[in-house]
């Protein structure tokens, strides 16, 4: 009795049939993707696009201009500064940061009036080794006063809280990189909420002595944008552009060790989260120890919290990663790894 009912459910309606056809198509592209991934990227990218349109629906439409900010480049770009050896034999790293007022594209065709370190949101990923002397020459070219507040040990005068740097003024922050781990920097000028959500933040990595095991390293800053300025985010993402890694998957190798430096700088929402499909990861909370704290596939981070995640994929294919807060995922915080 069950079978015939399925067939006679909507006898004259094309809709039911069309849906079946579409599902078949999606299933077909999935199967084909599995076969073709070794064949080449082009075929897989095409399959991927089909996949999104036919199966998903939940996607932004169009492309952002990556000439101004390229999320793919940002992912693996580390600024180690200008390196020099000091008289006492220790390393000095000098960084140049300028804050500017700039319009950024946070989803295809959607522009946000941002305040940005070096014209990009997030700002450059600064990287030093534990014990290095870090010198940051900061110039404020923006119209509002700004600062840079680093997480880590430093003296009170280097905290970037009380010394507001006005338009066209400069300030030099200097401290020893300590402790090792995954940190961040952001503007601490009141009103704080606005100065952060406008885009003044970046990742600050301090490597442990001897470094970490070799891996494919990438930075993911979980952020959001309140584009209509109503005190709630309209757009969520890792690295600013909604659904960017969904439309442009990150290519990695099978069994390759992947290390994600995950930072939560989302404003307005108390928490954000990260969920990896079809794999589990070691979590190093704040990266301040070399032994993992957790082995899981979903973690929650509060505002300003961060974790280093290490994982790999056992089989080739397309694997999603996204906020397990479904609302955030659907509003842009979702991406894909393409494993070959």
């Amino acid at each position: 009795m069950k079978m015939p009912r399925l067939f006679v459910r909507r006898p004259k309606d094309e809709g039911g049939l069309a849906l079946t056809r579409r599902q078949l198509l999606a299933a077909g592209s999935l199967g084909a993707a599995g076969l073709l991934t070794r064949g080449g990227r082009k075929a897989s990218a095409f399959q991927h696009e089909q996949h999104l349109r036919d199966h998903f629906g939940n996607t932004t439409v169009g492309e952002v201009d990556t000439k101004i900010f390229n999320p793919m480049t940002y992912l693996e770009e580390f600024d180690r500064g200008k390196e020099s050896i000091q008289p006492d034999g220790t390393v000095l790293r000098e960084f140049q940061i300028t804050s500017v007022d700039v319009e950024i594209e946070v989803a295809p065709g959607v522009f946000f009036p941002a305040w940005a370190y070096n014209g990009k949101v997030p700002g450059p990923t600064l990287r030093a080794n534990a014990g290095d002397r870090v010198r940051v020459n900061f110039t404020n070219a923006g119209r509002h006063p700004h600062t840079i507040h680093f997480h880590g040990f430093h003296s009170a005068g280097m905290d970037g809280v009380f010394e507001l740097v006005k338009h066209n003024e400069t300030f030099t922050y200097e401290f020893i990189a300590d402790p090792f781990g995954l940190h961040l920097y952001h503007c601490h000028t009141p009103p704080l909420k606005r100065h952060i959500h406008k885009g003044l933040y970046g990742t600050f990595i301090v490597d442990p002595p001897g470094g970490r095991p070799p891996a494919r390293e990438m930075v993911m800053m979980m952020n959001g944008f309140d584009t209509n300025l109503d005190g709630e985010n309209e757009i969520y993402a890792v690295n600013s552009v909604a659904h960017y890694y969904m439309r442009h998957p990150i290519h990695v190798k099978q069994n390759e060790l992947i290390r994600v430096y995950l930072v939560n700088i989302t404003e307005f929402d108390l928490i954000n989260s990260f969920h990896s499909h079809a794999t589990f990861f070691n979590e190093f909370r704040t990266g301040t120890k070399l032994e993992p704290d957790n082995f899981t596939d979903t973690i929650i981070l509060g505002q300003g919290e961060r974790s280093i995640l290490e994982f790999s994929y056992r089989e080739p294919g397309s694997y999603m990663f996204h906020a397990h807060v479904s609302e955030f995922a659907e509003l842009g915080w979702a991406g894909m790894f393409e494993v070959t």
Binding site: D13, G15, L19, L52, R53, F56, G57, N58, T59, T60, V61, G62, V106, A107, P108, G109, V110, F111, F112, F225, T227, N228, E234, A242, H243, E327, E330, L331, G332
Partner: protein
């Protein structure tokens, strides 16, 4: 004298041309240079988008969006229930001032549940639109035409004709009761007029601000009042017809225009699933509109007219409901509704004036006597009471 006359005329036109040219020049300069040339400083763009028609098909949402703001708006993304969604926009993402675009979204909406669609502009502003209860929009086919036609006939034509069945009874009434019934018609019309104005104002609220809802309504209402006022007098002079008969036709026309608006509203509401037309509601409309039929024959009083003309009166008053239901169901737009309703309001106001004048003709003080006052009060009350039945 005859030679200088045309010269004088030419001169006066030239003098009028100078300010006109200056206005044109100013408009040209303002458009060319923009207000920024005059007022330094950047103004944030004021964007305004209004969602008009919404069509729900299985797995699909279609919206018609109008830009009522001062500058063009680019719709960059679409959110459905707080999720970015794939979509297409015709003719394009850039909607110029006072232009419309159609947004088609493939979305698996859930029957009976609310859906919220938000358009995200290039500046990051969001324009939300709520569909309170998602239900499939009936496709326009033979069945649709028959259904909506029948809807109009049930709530418009049949009740009016039934009400006109009181004609033989009205003819037997003494004069004071005739006055009462004519005033009863005036009461009915006043009620309909108020109802129509309220509905017109409601429709105006949904209009893009640039369309100037209230002004549009005032213009349409006053215009229709003036046109009908002039037309009725011209008609009576030309045909030399009996005042009662002419006024009866005017009453039928006024009621007809009101019913067109009513049909529009009911058709549109039924189409988007806002009201479920249960038997109770149809009965309510029928009783309400039966009163309108009684109103028409009350004006005729003891005047006997051919059954053909009586049927014509009924058709004028009742058939527009059918037309309205079709229009409302086919391509409802708040702009259209506001204009139709305002025209009806103006017409009804004029007909009330004519009805009162007809009563006045019945004798000195007839229009202000107890039967007339009582008639108006009873007319209003009956409409109010039967109106309760329509509260969907």
């Amino acid at each position: 004298m005859s030679k200088t006359e045309p010269r004088a005329k030419k001169t006066s036109i030239a003098w009028a041309l100078i300010p006109l040219l200056l206005i044109a020049l100013m408009a040209f300069l303002l458009i060319k240079a923009g207000p920024r040339g005059l007022f330094p400083g950047e103004f944030p763009p004021i964007e305004e988008l209004t969602v008009g028609r919404v069509k729900l098909e299985p797995g699909k949402i279609v919206l018609v969006v109008t830009n009522g703001g001062p500058s063009e708006v680019v719709v960059s993304q679409v959110l459905v229930d707080d999720a970015f969604w794939d979509h297409e926009i015709e003719p394009g993402r850039t909607i110029k001032r006072l232009r419309s675009a159609t947004v088609t979204i493939e979305y698996p909406w859930v029957e009976g549940e609310p859906v919220e669609v938000a358009l995200v502009s290039s500046t990051g502003l969001t324009f939300p639109h709520s569909i309170e209860v998602a239900t499939e929009t009936p496709p326009i086919d033979r069945k649709f035409i028959i259904t909506f036609g029948l809807l109009g006939i049930y709530i418009g034509l049949i009740p009016v004709l039934l009400g006109m069945g009181f004609a033989p009874f009205v003819r037997t009434l003494p004069r004071s009761w005739l006055i009462f019934f004519m005033a009863f018609t005036a009461g009915v019309l006043i009620f309909l007029g108020i109802e129509t104005v309220t509905e017109a104002l409601e429709s105006a609220e949904a209009l893009p601000a640039a369309f100037g809802g209230i002004g549009l309504i005032a213009f349409a209402a006053i215009g229709s009042f003036a046109v009908i006022f002039a037309a009725s007098r011209w008609f009576r002079k030309r045909t030399g017809g009996d005042r009662r008969v002419v006024v009866a036709f005017l009453v039928a026309a006024g009621i007809g225009l009101h019913n067109l608006g009513e049909g529009l509203a009911v058709g549109a509401a039924y189409r988007i699933g806002q009201i479920a037309l249960g038997a109770f509601l149809v009965v309510g409309f029928a009783l309400h509109n039966t009163t309108e039929g009684l109103g028409i024959v009350s004006i005729l009083g003891d005047k006997k007219i051919a059954i053909r003309r009586l049927a014509l009166l009924g058709a004028i008053a009742g058939l527009p409901t059918v037309l309205g239901a079709w229009i409302g169901g086919f391509f409802f737009s708040p702009t259209l509704a506001a204009v139709f309703l305002a025209i009806a309001a103006g017409a009804i106001a004029e007909v009330v004036v004519d009805v009162m004048l007809a009563i006045k003709e019945e004798g000195a003080g007839a229009a202000s006597g107890p039967p007339a006052m009582l008639g108006i009060a009873v007319g209003l009350t009956v409409m109010y009471v039967t109106g309760i039945l329509i509260a969907a």
